[in-house]
Amino acid sequence: MMNLQIKTAPAGHIKEARFSPYENNGGTVLAVAGKDYCVVAGDTRMSEGYSILSRDVAKLYQLNNTSILASSGMHADMVTLRKSLDYKIEQYRHRHHKEMMTPAIAQMLSNTLYFKRFFPYYTFNVLAGLDENGAGVVYGYDAIGSFESIPYCVTGTGSSLITSVLDNQVAFKTQMKNKAELSFDEVVDLVKDCMTAAGERDIFTGDSVDIAVITKDGIKYEKFALKKD
């Protein structure tokens, strides 16, 4: 639905109706890079304003056997961005006779986003996968393609609720405890807890969570329920 903001003016003056091409469909996505795996999660609620449009729309998109693009923001732009990336990854496959690796996709995604610098894709992306050595790798983006490789990334309406928790529990930045390597199960449990916490306070996050785990053996999916309020 169009986003029309009609400004009424004092009598005798011109009224202005402004069309905005952007709409935030809400939701939260995050990814955590492990030693030889990546955990990606995204809720499945799609909203518009204070209404829920759907309780089961995926924010995670598998680009190939080793990479997942998780995005929040405007759904229409997310879909088109995915199609655009699919096309380029297929082209790469034909030309180079091999699958595109996550670091290469990362750079390509950045270029794709910056290409629309003056009419951006309203998407806040997190790209997750494995690097050339098989280690988990996560890239966080802004809407116009600025990106970096980081141990974990959260974007979306619930990002501020979760980021601080991960700072504390994954990077140990805010506690005196010795930095410990989290085990795979600990990471998954932490991710579930974080999404649940975000679902409690952020009205745009809820319904259910898609969790994907990327390893050299492929990608496995899991879904778990969140509150529907």
Binding site: K83, S84, D86, Y87, E90, Q91, H94
Partner: protein
């Protein structure tokens, strides 16, 4: 007698109503090494002979994957085949982007044929010198098409193009009636038998490329060691059994006695632009 004055331009008809340049382009296809295609109701298999200029050189790629559900084998000017292949891949991807589904094989082939036809009308361009066997599986089933430099395309149950294609076609004519309900493995065997008929030398894992697509199979290319078991089925001999002399031979050297049969032999054996 008339050929000489009416055959320099694509855009000139001969008094007999023929476009000689287009026919010459089709000759280029006939000089390429053989490619064979067979189709059942659910699968299409294409097989091609690989040619190399010598033991030190690699083989030219003749079988291309165009999309998950379509692929092709080519015969003739292999550089034309490569470019057409790239263009076709682009068309397939564009279709997928716009319609979120794979392009129907016949639609793709029509586009290529239209592209070929356009060059039979231009006066500063030459026609493509390559024939394609396009194999695809879509919601209308399994299909095998042939395209020609003239822009004509036809659908086939089984077909062969390139050098000595007639021998392959003779084999296929005998067996094609059974193809519809054949199993996938039997279909491969027939394709390779037909290829064997068109091959001047023994079939080995080094000179055969296999491509197939079908009901539960994405378009896949098999060559090298992977194709050995299939070739073995048909030749009943392992590569190791080849005598040393055969191994050293140029894979595509016509036996001496065949040279006198055609007047156009010339130096075609050394013409590596066709394959």
């Amino acid at each position: 007698m008339f050929r000489n004055i009416y055959d320099t331009d694509v855009t000139t008809f001969s008094p007999a109503g023929r476009l000689h340049q287009v026919e010459y382009a089709m000759e280029a296809v006939k000089q390429g090494s053989a490619a064979v295609g067979v189709a059942s109701k659910e699968y299409v298999v294409i097989a091609s002979l690989k040619r190399s200029s010598g033991d030190l050189a690699s083989y030219q790629q003749k079988v291309f994957q165009l999309d998950k559900h379509v692929g092709m084998a080519s015969s003739g000017l292999i550089s034309d085949a490569r470019l057409l292949g790239q263009w076709m891949r682009n068309e397939c991807m564009n279709h997928r982007f716009v319609y979120n589904s794979g392009i129907i094989t016949q639609r793709l082939v029509t586009k290529v044929a239209d592209k070929c036809q356009a060059l039979t009308i231009k006066d500063t361009w030459r026609p493509y010198g390559v024939g394609l066997l396009v194999a695809g599986y879509d919601e209308t089933g399994a299909h095998l098409f042939q395209t020609e430099p003239s822009g004509i395309y036809l659908e086939f149950k089984a077909h062969a193009i390139g050098a000595r294609a007639q021998s392959a076609k003779t084999y296929l004519e005998k067996h094609f009636a059974t193809f519809d309900d054949l199993s996938f493995d039997d279909l491969i065997r027939h394709a390779l038998e037909a290829l064997k008929a068109a091959s001047p030398n023994k079939l080995t894992s080094r000179n055969v490329t296999l491509g197939f697509v079908g009901k539960d199979k994405e378009f896949t290319i098999i060559e090298g060691d992977d194709v050995r078991p299939y070739v073995f089925q048909v030749t009943q001999a392992d590569d190791e059994d080849e005598n040393e002399e055969d191994k050293k031979k140029d894979i595509f050297k016509r036996p001496e006695e065949q040279k006198t049969e055609t007047e156009q032999t010339g130096s075609n054996e050394d013409n590596m632009s066709t394959d």
